[in-house]
């Protein structure tokens, strides 16, 4: 028995040693870093190009090899895994996240590198990407991310389908009323009586609730991000309109309609196949949809239009961005990778692959981007996405006083209840606002370090409310919500720079 025990122990030690020696880190002559990203075959080429970029830019060892070996980790993209690994000290050097929401969580944990200084020195500071993304990659003026790609959302239009039905043209910018009128016309013409549920055609797959709400002038949070702003009659109207389009007019599919389609899966899910098959005449998404669209035969001429609006045209802008883990052995090498993301070499790859918009907008003016010779049916769509990103795009809003996913979950519960005809729109708006406010109160109570900023912002909010109620303009520096900054600018409610702030009863130092 003792011999058996000894043999087992020896075998275990030997196999452990073998595993260690065969591990890439042990075999590489240069430091190895890992990039946690999604499962996309394009990443292999992006890594290869990174090694070439290192050589081209002199980041080499004495014998001319790249100073670092980048490897892909596609198994740990899930945010829960990233949280556990980062706080446990075992995460990879470079981590992809879905923008400002996740970044703020990791920043609060203090597990990611502040790259502000290196970004300026190495050329990947916020000026190297879209202005609208600033709050997605920075917090309080400090930078933590750089985009791997950028996505401004729009509506892809199947031109051939509309032409065949004699409808259109679909306006590049349109109101809720125009959308509804054309939608009803489309549904009547595209679905003759007796159409089977799994063959039904819909005007569009969805309209993002955030964009609809914002177009009516409503944000999830108030100007200082200290409370919810959802308890608003304009939000009530938007909720009712949304439900009407889905359940009454049925120009957008119900969840049951969606599940009726037995469609193939794949990148982007079944929605893109349904666009290709003509079941959806329009789909909501970004330039990255082209990755699938290029596989479809006979898709015909494509167009991209803005979302319908209720007075304030807008869209959302987001990013899949990379951050550097503080606990990494060589965070400096991770920052080198972020610099690569701003380079022409990397941006060219994104342009070729149509993997959303390239992080650096200066590369979007080229013919290769605007009119790729192989895909003439896409001409016009690329430039439209850049135009939307530069002119009407607003990032998602994140409050320092509550995690964005918590606020979203709380409000979604009530909007879903409204959509299920369980509560009224007024109740949904009121209860959403109350739930978010409660989450904010809890968070501030739990984290006393937030208290001073919160108190300061409350006073500021009073000033803003008083000024707006008196019909006065407010200084831009008072507004902390990126939506309100854009909305008030469009409404002419912002004071021109350098003009004195309005007198109000509440004395406050502008934070």
């Amino acid at each position: 028995m003792k011999i058996l025990f000894g043999v087992i122990l020896t075998v275990l030690v030997a196999t452990s040693l073998g595993t260690y020696l065969s591990y890439p880190d042990a075999r590489s002559e240069v430091p190895v870093i890992y990039w946690v990203t999604d499962r996309n075959p394009a990443r292999v080429l992006q890594v290869q190009r990174f090694h070439e970029w290192l050589v081209k830019n002199g980041h080499v060892t004495e014998d001319g090899k790249p100073v670092v070996e980048l490897r892909l980790d596609m198994a740990n993209r899930d945010q829960a895994k990233q949280i556990i690994q980062t706080v446990s000290g075992v995460a990879s050097e470079v981590l992809d996240v879905g923008g400002g929401q996740a970044m703020r969580l990791f920043r609060q944990m203090e597990v990611i590198e502040d790259v502000t200084d290196e970004a300026l020195a190495m050329g990947f500071d916020p000026s190297q990407t879209y202005a609208a993304l600033e709050s997605e990659i920075t917090v309080d003026g400090r930078q933590y991310l750089f985009p791997c790609n950028v996505s401004a959302q729009g509506m892809w239009v199947n031109e051939a389908l509309f032409e065949s039905l004699g409808i259109g043209p679909i306006p590049a910018r349109w109101t809720f009323e125009e959308f509804e009128r054309l939608g009803k016309e489309f549904m009547a013409k595209a679905n003759p009586p007796g159409t089977r549920p799994d063959q039904k055609r819909f005007f569009a797959n969805s309209i993002p609730p955030v964009t609809m709400r914002r177009s009516a002038g409503v944000s999830m949070f108030n100007e200082t991000l200290t409370a919810s702003a959802l308890n608003d009659s304009r939000y009530v109207e938007v909720l009712e309109l949304q439900r009407k389009w889905i359940y009454e007019d049925n120009i957008l599919p119900t969840p049951d309609d969606t599940s009726a389609f037995a469609s193939e899966q794949g990148y982007g899910g079944p929605t893109l196949s349904l666009f290709g098959s003509g079941n959806y005449a329009m789909v909501t998404g970004g330039r990255y949809f082209l990755i699938r669209f290029r596989d479809f035969d006979n898709l015909g001429q494509l167009r991209v239009v803005e979302f319908p609006h209720g007075g304030f045209p807008n869209t959302t802008i987001g990013t899949r961005a990379a951050m550097v883990y503080t606990g990494a052995d060589r965070p400096d090498l991770g920052k080198l990778f972020l610099a690569y993301l701003a380079s022409e070499d990397y941006n060219e790859l994104i342009i070729e692959d149509a993997d959303a918009l390239p992080p650096n907008p200066k590369f979007t003016k080229s013919e290769a981007f605007l009119r790729p010779p192989k895909y003439p049916n896409e001409w016009g769509t690329h430039g439209q996405f850049v135009k939307m990103a530069e002119e009407i795009a607003i990032p998602l809003v994140h409050s320092p006083f509550v995690l964005t996913n918590v606020a979203n979950n709380r409000s979604d519960d009530y909007s879903e209840l409204f959509m299920a005809f369980r509560i009224s729109a007024e109740e949904a708006a009121l209860k959403s606002a109350q739930a978010i406010d409660e989450a904010i109160r809890d968070e501030v109570e739990r984290k006393p370090e937030l208290q001073p900023l919160y108190e300061e912002r409350l006073v500021l909010q009073e000033k803003i409310d008083a000024a707006l109620a008196a019909g006065q303009k407010v200084p831009a520096e008072w507004i902390k919500n990126p939506f309100h900054l854009r909305y008030y600018a469009a409404q002419g409610k912002l004071l021109p720079e350098g003009e004195a702030a309005p007198e109000t009863s509440a004395a406050v130092t502008t934070p």
Partner: protein, 497 residues
């Protein structure tokens, strides 16, 4: 060193890796999570990169938040709702085990019956196909599957059926959930494609009969619920008289029987009949009290005697009462629900996974299906083989009918197994629901399918509140522990009685 000592050291050496594993990955995390439950541990505030931040002891703060907040009670309610399926799934497992313990090839013309049924069904399927019944593809599939099962049973007999019934247990959970997602598709899922014609037919029948009939059924349903209340309380009264149930022990069972009556009085859908329910319940209780006072042949019992038996009976009656209570307003509303108009399609099959009201029952039905062919069925199969044949012989000599044989021989003999299954199912039910919520509904719609286990995951790994998540986990443990203790104390007694 003595031989004994050497052997001891060798034994400990063999065990050490395992012990270390258990201590490191089980004992330590469990104990540590108890400590965490009383702290403000939040990953955004405390982790290895925040050296100056220390975790603070917050006493019962996390537990107070559990009780005062609205989410824990809501998700506990969801969990308990799913657990309502446990008695049904245990009963179904027992029925499955009894069916599978009888030899399907044991003469009596059964084989011919199966063969003929199978061939008949296949012939039907072929005829449907020949006449081009494309729209009834689902019917063809279902009938074909039934025929296949019958015919395979003729060939494979018990082995085939036992394997078939046990299949859900060895199919990977996620694959099952995806499959059920397809089955539940509201527009073209097999379930609704089968259900919709039946509902349309029912709608036609309802529309063709006077509406007053259905409003009458509303009251009939409530009267039946009162009848169940009468039956349950009469059973308890007889137990008291016979000395099987102490007066003190009878309080909770009687209380359980009253719950559906009280709910019926305050529930919006049945509130209009509160007077009937209230008067009926009072009259029934008064009648039992009067009958009890008239009996002179009472056997004395200790106050706490027979609690387990009384509790189990009351629980079973309670479930039936609630079913009747739920069905009554549905019957009353049938004419309105069946009416086809510009704004209504009449009786339609439910949107199983996307409707706030149906998502929970949908997942419960799926759990019920999985539970029928689970280890419970295997345990019952094993237990059934252990029932002494002499008992059945004795019952036969006494002239017992099949139902009496089951009630007086099989059921008591299976009591220890049933007790074990109930305890394990209760524990599993309280802990479960995570995978199906994550894969099928992400806890939605509107949190309707978020169970406590999924809530723990959300709080711990999506928002980083480890202290609060640990408190939820320990509250869940306390709940499981209390219920198991309760089961053990009273259920065990019931089994041994």
């Amino acid at each position: 060193m003595t031989r004994e000592r050497r052997n001891l050291i060798a034994g400990v050496a063999f065990l050490t890796p395992n012990i270390l594993g258990v201590v490191t990955f089980v004992v330590f995390p469990v104990v540590f999570s108890l400590y965490m439950a009383f702290t403000n541990w939040d990953l955004t505030l405390h982790n290895m990169f925040k050296e100056d931040a220390s975790v603070e002891f917050v006493g019962l703060e996390n537990f107070i938040e559990l009780v005062t907040g609205d989410r824990f009670p809501r998700f506990l309610g969801n969990t308990l709702f799913f657990m309502m399926g446990i008695p049904f799934s245990v009963a179904a497992s027992l029925i499955a085990a009894m069916l599978l313990s009888s030899d399907t090839r044991a003469g009596g013309g059964k084989n011919y019956l199966y063969l003929l049924s199978g061939i008949g069904l296949i012939a039907g399927v072929m005829m449907l196909t020949v006449v081009g019944a494309g729209a009834t593809a689902m019917t063809i599939l279902l009938v074909g599957a039934a025929a296949g099962i019958l015919l395979a049973g003729v060939g494979g007999g018990l082995t085939f059926y036992r394997t078939l019934f046990y299949t859900p247990h060895f199919v990977a959970g996620v694959a099952t959930f995806i499959l059920w997602g397809k089955l539940y598709s509201a527009t073209n899922g097999p379930i609704n494609l089968t259900l919709q014609p039946a509902l349309s037919g029912l709608g036609g029948v309802v529309n063709g009969t006077p509406a007053v009939l259905y409003s009458g059924l509303f009251w009939v349903g409530l009267l039946l619920m009162l009848a169940m209340f009468y039956w349950g309380s009469a059973k308890l009264r007889r137990m008291i008289v016979d000395g099987d149930l102490g007066k003190g022990a009878a309080v909770v069972p009687f209380g359980l029987l009253l719950i559906p009556v009280v709910v019926g009085c305050v529930w919006g859908m049945t509130r209009q009949a509160w007077w009937l329910l209230a008067l009926g319940a009072v009259a029934i209780l008064a009648y039992h009290a009067w009958v009890y006072s008239q009996r002179t042949d009472r056997f004395p019992a200790k106050s706490s005697e027979g609690f387990g038996s009384g509790f189990v009976i009351a629980l079973m009656v309670l479930v039936v009462q609630f079913v009747l209570l739920g069905l009554s307003p549905v019957m009353g509303a049938l004419p309105a629900m069946s009416e086809v108009s510009a704004t209504s399609d009449g009786l339609t099959a439910p949107s199983w996974l996307t409707d706030v009201g149906w998502a929970k029952p949908a997942l419960m039905i799926m759990g019920f299906w999985a539970a029928i062919g689970s280890n419970n069925m295997l345990l019952y199969l094993a237990a059934l083989t252990n029932v002494p044949g002499e008992l059945y012989e004795a019952a036969n000599i006494d002239g017992a009918k099949p139902l009496q044989r089951f009630w007086n021989v099989t059921w008591p003999q299976l009591a220890p197994t049933t007790f074990f299954i109930l305890v394990m199912a209760t524990i599993g039910g309280l802990q479960g629901g995570f995978e199906m919520a994550r894969v099928m509904t992400q806890g939605g719609p509107a949190g309707a399918t978020t169970t406590l286990s999924y809530f723990i995951y959300q709080e711990g790994f999506e928002t980083g509140r480890l202290g609060y998540a640990s408190a939820v986990a320990w509250a869940l443990f306390l709940l499981i522990f209390s219920i198991t203790l309760f089961n053990w104390k009273f259920g065990n007694k019931y089994v041994n009685d």
